[in-house]
């Protein structure tokens, strides 16, 4: 299963790389870059990451990152944040390839939140013994992911990724996902940098 997944990811990554070789050629002519991007406005969405701020209610409470197959990056920050608004950037083919390879390597496209939660419950079971310490982290954000996979878009939501991954470092899938999401957070910040 793992071998098959690896092959599938590699295939997908190669497909994406092909797309970006085209993009790269277009972007070599600065004047045509914008129109090329405009022309690729319907490019395939290959990854969407949303972070829902659970403490905020009654208004838009979600940061959003969209990455398209053509390298276009779209970022949205809600009004209460310093970076509020829509931001755009573009990844080179190489950057996109590396980023997506990293995402697939993290297991994001196969992540099953139910499995992770069951593992957390299993590990937590001992901590409910009398007197045993357990850590609680409140008001955790909800991470939403949609990522292209061989079976279409793999989509899931997971509450408290940061807290749970630091609390249960032995859960490799959670740690890997958390690191991958940190990369996406960085990309959002870079895209929205003044």
């Amino acid at each position: 299963m793992q071998i098959k997944q690896h092959i599938n990811k590699t295939t997908l990554t190669n497909k994406l790389l092909g797309w970006f070789q085209v993009c790269l050629m277009l972007s070599a002519i600065p004047g045509s870059m914008v129109s090329a991007q405009d022309g690729l406005g319907n490019a395939e969405l290959i990854l969407e990451y949303r972070r829902e701020v659970s403490m905020v209610s009654g208004q838009d409470n979600t940061m959003r990152l969209k990455i398209f197959a053509d390298g276009r990056v779209s970022v949205h920050y809600p009004a209460f944040m310093r970076r509020a608004g829509e931001h755009q950037s573009s990844l080179t083919a190489g950057e996109l390839n590396r980023l997506m390879a990293s995402m697939y390597a993290s297991g994001m496209a196969d992540f099953e939140p139910e499995t992770a939660e069951n593992n957390i419950k299993r590990l937590s079971r001992g901590s409910t013994d009398s007197g045993r310490l357990r850590l609680i982290r409140t008001d955790q954000d909800i991470t939403h992911i949609r990522i292209a996979s061989d079976n279409g878009m793999h989509e899931f939501a997971f509450s408290g990724l940061r807290g749970k991954s630091s609390q249960f470092p032995q859960l490799q899938a959670l740690a890997d996902l958390s690191l991958a999401v940190e990369q996406l957070d960085r990309l959002m910040r870079e895209t929205s940098a003044p």
């Binding site: 659970s54 403490m55 209610s57 009398s130 850590l135």
Partner: protein, 604 residues
């Protein structure tokens, strides 16, 4: 003492004392809540504040701003206000304000409101609504907090009233976690008892036709005719919205925990909680860090099931460290920092006042609470059979630990003579023994003592007979003149003043007789301008200490007149005309009582 107790005090002291007591009992607060430890285990689990071990005590939670924090100065007022609000533990009614009703600019989030919520978590409280931990979204988050039942999913149906979180929600096999008031399941209505006799998580205890526990969500409030009110522990805050005071539900939740392991209010394992804000510091129980891009959270360790269904927050574990509130950096979120500082409420004066044992009418104890950790007392009594003199008083300053006041160094003095011949150098002060008060509440206690062999040891049930009135609005003198006073020239004798109403004070004079033996007298004086007039101070004699005490032995006599004139809060004079002599004393304050403030007044 009760020469004056039996006569004037019984009429004039008991009435105001009872009135004050009555008004204290009428201070009502409310309803239900959820605890952190119920999240993964028993729905009825209660989480207690750090340091709780099952005994009656004041638990102090040290709270500070992490030195590594951004915006430390901006956050300082918010941290102080949050401390005041949680310490006051009062339901302030409508606690939501928006638009022109608050000082928050549009699109900004109120840092103080968010901090108030997170502090609730770090005190052990959980969300009253399903919130984000349920993995639900949108309005469904507002359903009452619960665990999934056997079907493994949350059953959510707003019921006939279409209001989410209300008493008619149809929740299938969901297991309720929200403590509700048994009598009416109304989280916005006042009650006066916060324990398992009044609150439950068991849906079988719901009143009438209610089918699920209601939560203190604003929509539920509107449904019940309570507007602009929501529990602070409801997850979710909005831009341009201030929620800087507690709702009934928040108060009730913490008070429910304060009923202790036995979940019964008024028993020996009850506790109180006091947050002690120490500014920018390290090594406190709850640390505020402003950094990063997580909007806000509390991270706290809990020792599970210390006793069945009861967990306790742990803030000193090597594994997890202190509790931490983390709030996003100002470079990430448009915070609004409130610059309006709340006036700290006066501290609880606690048992300050006069106490006696009804079966030993004629002796008593004067207790002065000086601060959170220190108290003093005077015990006015009689010498043991065969002892010197006809009266006796003991004095000490000791430690407060929860409901227990311990005095390890009770002193007895003798040697000076009354009046003009008083010389402080004549006084001999000796160690007498130890004494301890254990208070059941603000009006009943047990006093235990161990003195020299001729005094022995014993314990008595005692009750309050003088309650000071710190709100007393006298014409000139503030209630803050209450306390102990002395004249440096006659160091060794002193006066205790207890303002009990706008017009009256209780006065004690602890001194010596003409032979150097201990003596005391006192009475109820009238307040006239800046003067206290006691025309008939009385003393008592004839009884003996300990087992030989008999109220019927007491003979009371008029001792003379005392007139105090105050120049300000800290100085004045006493003119006395007594059976032992006349004179004048220039008096100075020696104690300031906790919970009493004295602002300077102009002598008239």
């Amino acid at each position: 003492m009760n020469g004056w107790h039996v006569t004037r005090l019984r009429i004039q002291l008991w009435l105001p004392a009872l009135l004050v007591l009555g008004s204290a009992l009428m201070t009502t607060t409310v309803s239900a809540g959820v605890f952190l430890s119920s999240s993964d285990g028993d729905a009825a689990s209660i989480t207690h504040v750090s340091g709780y071990q099952g005994s009656n005590q004041e638990l102090v939670v040290n709270f500070c701003i992490d030195p590594a924090s951004e915006s430390r100065q901006s956050a300082d007022i918010a941290a102080q206000n949050v401390t005041i609000v949680w310490n006051a533990l009062q339901d302030e009614g409508a606690n939501l304000s928006t638009g022109f009703n608050n000082n928050i600019p549009p699109n900004r989030f109120d840092f103080e409101s968010v901090l108030l919520h997170e502090m609730g978590h770090c005190l052990g409280l959980a969300h009253i609504n399903l919130a984000s931990e349920s993995d639900l979204s949108g309005a469904n988050l507002n359903y009452t907090q619960a665990q999934t039942g056997p079907n493994g999913v949350f059953d959510i149906n707003a019921g006939p009233d279409f209001v989410i979180g209300s008493a008619d929600d149809i929740r299938g096999d969901d297991i309720n976690r929200n403590w509700f008031r048994i009598i009416d399941n109304n989280p916005f209505v006042a009650g006066d008892m916060f324990d398992r006799r009044s609150y439950s998580v068991d849906l079988a205890d719901l009143p009438g036709n209610d089918v699920f526990a209601a939560n203190a969500d604003r929509s539920v409030g509107t449904l019940l005719g309570v507007f602009a009110t929501e529990a602070v522990m409801q997850q979710g805050t909005r831009p341009d919205e201030a929620q800087r005071t507690l709702a009934a539900d928040d108060v009730a939740s913490l008070r429910l925990g304060m009923a202790g392991f036995d979940e019964l209010q008024g028993t020996a394992d009850d506790y109180s909680v006091r947050i002690n804000y120490t500014g920018v510091a390290e090594n406190c129980d709850v640390q505020l860090l402003i950094a990063g891009d997580d909007f806000a959270f509390c991270r706290v360790a809990i020792a599970n099931d210390v006793t069945p269904n009861h967990s306790v927050i742990v803030t000193d574990s090597q594994q997890f460290g202190p509790a931490q509130i983390q709030i996003a950096s100002t470079s990430e979120v448009n915070w609004f920092f409130n610059s309006q500082m709340l006036e700290p409420p006066p501290a609880d004066p606690g048992p300050t006042g006069s106490w006696f044992n009804p079966s030993r009418n004629g002796e008593g104890w004067v207790i002065e609470v000086l601060n959170e950790t220190t108290a003093g007392f005077y015990w006015f009594s009689y010498p043991p059979v065969g002892g010197d003199g006809q009266q006796l008083w003991l004095i000490s300053v000791g430690e407060i630990n929860g409901n227990t006041y311990t005095f390890d160094n009770v002193r007895i003095a003798s040697g000076a003579v009354f009046g003009a011949g008083f010389d402080p150098a004549d006084i001999v002060r000796e160690f007498w023994g130890t004494l301890e008060f254990v208070f059941s509440d603000n009006d009943t206690a047990v006093v235990s003592y161990a003195g020299p062999p001729e005094f022995g040891s014993d314990s008595y049930n005692i009750q309050r007979f003088v309650r000071l009135d710190r709100e007393a609005e006298t014409a000139v003198l503030p209630a803050g003149i209450s306390g102990s006073w002395f004249d440096p020239q006659t160091n060794g004798e002193g006066w205790v003043i207890e303002v009990i109403s706008a017009t009256q004070v209780v006065i004690y004079w602890f001194t010596f007789d003409e032979n150097g033996n201990q003596a005391w007298n006192g009475g109820v004086a009238d307040i006239v301008g800046n003067t206290l007039v006691l025309p008939d101070s009385r003393d008592s004699m004839g009884a003996a200490f300990g087992d030989d005490f008999d109220s019927n032995d007491i003979q009371r006599r008029d001792f003379g007149s005392l007139t105090f004139v105050f120049d300000d809060c800290n100085s004045g004079s006493l003119t006395f005309n007594t059976v032992r002599g006349n004179g004048v004393r220039d008096i100075q304050r020696i104690t300031n009582l906790r919970g009493f403030s004295c602002e300077d007044f102009s002598a008239q």
